[in-house]
Symmetry: C3
Subunit: 418 residues, 3 copies
């Protein structure tokens, strides 16, 4: 490959890396916006912890665990290529990765993805999780569980070669399952084990709305995430191939728009209210839905997938509330609900659609569900039995910011007296 | 064209598409920052509606309406290439658009532009417009009016071939008229038909300042918009041509800086106050001013155009107040006032300057003024006579957030008690 | 060089230019977040002033002063290539700058850097500096001092050729010294001359924490700055060379992560508190630390440099407090403390490490320290003796926003009454 094309490809992948990094600001804004003011610093601290520690863990071992160089189809549980990163011979030449990017870019792009899984959990457990427990969970989940699940598909493991009939391998373009559901399953387990926030559910089973503290931050978070998804999906082409990257941005944006409008519309007819939160979560639902097949769908199919994703959001949020699973930011509905939908949609729409493919997609969803749920359950139950995973009732009521950080998020904020 | 150059061009255009998308966060922050806390969710809802619905409308029909493939010079009012988007043969090869980008990129870049026109209106009508009316207006204006006006110039219509003497065609590089004035005329008409907010003007004709609720958001909005303009103007080169793109970024940034400093300075001498809002609106004025000729101007000319743009802002804001046209965010001054100025400046400065060109620019301004004003007037008067365009006085006073969305933008915000 | 590679290089440099511009939003958020609500508009006004006036000054004379075309090694104090910018012959062809970018891109990228130095000072002097004095200081410092210091290294001046033994020239890849310490020295001098804020230190010498008004803005600022550093360091490769740019992003991000975690950890053991501010300043410390040698270090070395950078932050903040040097945002610790460390680290780690290189690095640090401290001291003492550099005690207590701008940053902010 000529130098110019290699350089252009690598620019695109570095740009996408930056955009995926920027998603962490999106997640931070989204999560603090939808939660109470008294827990803001705690959530920001968690998010900053995830980015920094997540990247360092991926550097120490995660990258080597996720791309171990499989010799045959196995579960990758015992594969580990060693600590620390070092570029292989030729890792900076077009010979590496078909000239799509350098090995350094590869590491950083994948490292930015790794932290995302834990961030998804962070939102769901907000406002009552014990910080040390969450840190230990994050270290194990980002450092070990995510890379193993990732290796099954993107590291060339058994999911990538899982074939059935005419279907040749599980397909998950940018991670509806491999990233979003990996986070979503852990979020579900964690929310179940943690229990609901004080005051969320009444004795008669009805739920109270616990409103957040800043809709501007929530909205900004979603717009930043949408932009970040240009990199999340666009970069998953793994080169700057003009047709595939531009198609991916079109399907991604149309699914986002369709998901938002459909969630907003359904919520309007269901609750007679123009609900900004539902509008925004619908956008995220559209984005997660298209992620598994963003390069496989036509614009029309992307719109349909997004519309269904938006509808799923509304009903999943409602269902979780009925099950008394208290997810302050809607992370389970968004990342797990539409993550599953998006993965299955690859078997229904687009270039790979077939009943065989649908079954393979279902098998992939199931394999990740089993591995991640069990892993998360084991880690969290051990933490619960030892150091505990939930703060005291008193701390929860007074706010985690003061108790864990000795600080208020807006310590000098005053109202205009003039 | 070789693959590498095509790939590089397409990367630039996708990057610019992302930046123009990001402008919607800039507009959102700007608008909520300059308006009252009680209407924040309403404005955010409007903006999210515009992005999502605007993009879907452009997908359904707008793109086909704007680029209909003119056979001869006509008004394009009856041209329509059909519903839905589908890439033409060769749309993913360098043969399309001189290898500047793929057809998918083309659609998405133009789609991001389309929503901008309605967003401009959104700011001007904030704090009293009835939501359903604004939605219907947006759908018609973004779905039909903007694409028709756009087709006249960028779709190869009569403005693009309007010649007079030595001048060969109306020139509007990135849309001082075709985007900003299209939004600005509608904003002017809407503000006129809506009337001023309760409490804005006293019986003696004097105006009260109705201050916004967050200058940090306002400032962030302007900086994000400036960054977004790298894509808005830089992408309007329609390739990554090194000379033109880099010149465009230089003229854009210098005009922004010059506009800000000139507005700040004039406001200081006029009002004896270091007015941050005027500083920021001056930056936007500089940006809109240079948009019509960003690729035609030298840096020196860009600075002059920006300085004049900044001066126009100060006097236009003041003039609108005298006319009792209540524009909460200064959108008319920025997008219409300096939009006209920037368009005319192409006839005065830069490579195309000539008296003939000036007249052609004037004709283009006039044609768009007529079409957009009349269209906006008709749509809005019909809406006013039917469902109404303004909320009740009670709703306006108590805030649109509670009445239309049943929610407060900062429901859990508390002051530090420690 | 072929057109495609030139185009790709120029795209990367334009992208990096945009990212460095975006850092100004990061600085703005960081600074207002860490300071009191009553001075918010004042800080935003300062930042907007720096961006706009800084860019115009660089256009008027700074760029020509910084890259004067040295004929021999001199101090560049009397070199000046004239007012205004105009591209040289061939400035838009691959013949310029080895095809890394066009001359227009060169100007804009360097112009975005120029404003950064003054922004660093802005944070340190916040909440009590007199606005006119700061403006005059900024104009001189950005317009003259920064370009002269910059010319010594990046303009081909005496630092770039300063050799000793085996060391061939001072090395400062992206400006740990040439940008960050240039700002940091002025910040130190300014803080010393200004004195501490009212209420910061007690009579017994102990310090009071003066908390800021928005940790979400602070956090967002740091994440935006980290993203911006992709451009700051990545663009300092001065082309899109795949290996060097991607290595630079990896070392930059790993140092940021390591700096954050080390500062957070040290602060936890020292103060028994999970301190978000220290976590965030540690990230910035890691970023500044790696800036001088981001292209010379292995990932392992980047992590070590970042860890030490994070530790320096904790102790530098504490030391400054003991010296009663009141820096509201920690700018001196971050930009000067780790700026020096990062510069010296080039002599200790990476491809250039040698004792001779260490001495050359030390000499460079000393030369810039001397020139910038003396320049800042002279400018500020003259300002102090004439118009004064500090606002009145009354103005400081009541807030600069009302006194200098007649406005409150959140004039219409209300608490939820429902």
């Amino acid at each position: 490959m000529e130098t110019a094309l290699f350089t252009a490809n690598n620019i695109w992948m570095m740009l996408c890396t930056g955009l995926v990094f920027f998603m962490h600001l999106g997640f931070s804004f989204l999560e603090i916006g939808l939660t109470r003011q008294k827990n803001t610093i705690n959530i920001l601290f968690k998010n900053i912890f995830i980015i920094t520690v997540g990247l360092l863990l991926y550097y120490i071992g995660g990258f080597n665990l996720m791309y171990p160089g499989f010799e045959d189809d196995d579960l990758g549980l015992l594969k580990f290529a060693g600590f620390g990163i070092a570029a292989p011979d030729g890792g900076m030449t077009p010979a590496y990765a078909d000239g799509g990017y350098t090995w350094w870019t590869d590491f950083l792009f994948q490292g930015m993805f790794a932290a995302t899984a834990a961030t998804i959990v962070s939102g769901a457990v907000a406002e009552r999780v014990k910080l040390q427990a969450f840190f230990i969970f994050t270290i194990i989940y980002v450092g070990i569980v995510y890379p193993i699940a990732g290796s099954w598909q993107w590291g060339g493991g058994f999911l990538s070669t899982l074939s059935y009939g005419s279907a040749e391998g599980f397909y998950d373009f940018a991670g509806s399952t491999i990233v979003h559901s990996v986070g979503g399953w852990a979020a579900l387990i964690a929310v179940y084990l943690l229990g609901a926030r004080v005051g969320k559910y009444n004795e008669d089973g009805s739920a109270n709305a616990i409103t957040g503290h800043s809709m501007p931050f929530t909205t900004a978070g979603v717009l930043i995430l949408w932009l970040g998804w240009f990199g999340f999906n666009g970069g998953s082409v793994l080169s700057a191939d003009p047709e595939l990257t531009s198609l991916t941005l079109v399907t991604t944006s149309l699914a986002a728009a369709a998901g938002g409008v459909s969630a907003m519309t359904v919520a309007f007819f269901r609750y007679k209210n123009l609900d900004l939160t539902m509008f925004l979560n619908g956008i995220l639902g559209g984005l997660v839905s298209i992620t598994a097949g963003a390069d496989q769908m036509s614009p029309n199919e992307a719109v349909i997938i997004g519309i269904i994703g938006g509808i799923i959001i509304v009903f999943a949020v409602s269902l979780l509330d009925k099950l008394k699973l208290d997810d302050p930011v809607g992370a389970i509905a968004v990342h797990l609900g539409t993550g599953i939908w998006g993965t299955l949609a690859v078997g229904i729409f687009g270039g790979l659609a077939s009943f065989d493919q649908f079954l393979v997609q279902l098998a992939g969803v199931g394999a990740v569900a089993f591995f991640c749920s069990v892993s998360a359950f084991i880690i969290l139950v051990i933490l619960k039995k030892t150091i505990g995973i939930r703060v005291s009732r008193n701390e929860e009521v007074e706010g985690l910011d003061i108790h864990e950080h000795g600080m208020d998020a807006y310590p000098d904020f005053r109202l205009n007296q003039h």
